[in-house]
Symmetry: C2
């Protein structure tokens, strides 16, 4: 029942703290990217007292451990989500802020073209869509 990521971290010699477990659990059980402050609020709500600094540090740590990834959706703050799920991107509702996943078959073709067309050695990419969700239309 314990998270796979936690297990891995422990094996690597990292400690399993209340904050760490909770943050990983929240990230695992939320199906959309989360911002640091939002994560902090969620922790508060479930009764876990951590400093916002710890949240930032933990996110940085999880990034380095390749457990989560950055999701740049807004100009003002970064979002984060678990790695390892099938590759996908996101839709952000510009009215209510709702975020949804979107996976695109034709992305393959796009990436191939990018590799062909460019002399860069492309390592990663960022893609996001903006518009209004069904409810806000």
């Amino acid at each position: 029942m314990k998270s796979d990521s936690l297990q891995t971290l422990k094996e690597k010699g990292h400690r399993i703290t209340q904050a760490r477990s909770a943050i990983i659990e929240l990230l695992e059980n939320t199906d959309r990217p989360i911002a640091a402050k939002s994560l902090y609020t969620m922790l508060e709500r479930i009764g876990i007292k951590v400093n916002i600094t710890t949240v930032y540090r933990e996110l940085e740590f999880l990034l380095q451990e390749n457990i989560i990834e950055k999701v740049p959706l807004k100009d003002t703050e970064l979002h984060y989500e678990m790695k390892g799920r099938p590759h996908h991107h996101h839709l952000l509702c510009t009215s209510c802020g709702n975020i949804e996943d979107i996976a695109l078959e034709s992305e393959h073709t796009l990436l191939e073209e990018a590799h062909t067309v460019s002399a860069y050695n492309i390592k990663r990419h960022s893609l996001a869509f903006y518009g209004q969700c069904p409810k806000c239309q």
Copy 2:
């Protein structure tokens, strides 16, 4: 010889100031997205003394006037470039910071799929590639 954007602004009743002309000219003559601070430095170099606040305010103004657009390439600062050129995206070299344009034929297909697959009313999107430029490989 005077910029088209400037003409349009003047006709709309906006003033043509030293800062405004210079900023538009720099944006028009630079083939890559520019960050506010970088723009500020470029202005300094050509001997135009403006406060960084003015640069931010002018960028905000040009956004509202639909003359430039935001280009989110970095987590830390926004870039801006002229609108109106053929639709394209960008490559950022993670080693030297160099930025290049990239236009992709197959983007059409991708956007169509996005519209089909999603219930969102998609208005815009953001796409960027990260890797190493030829010189840095």
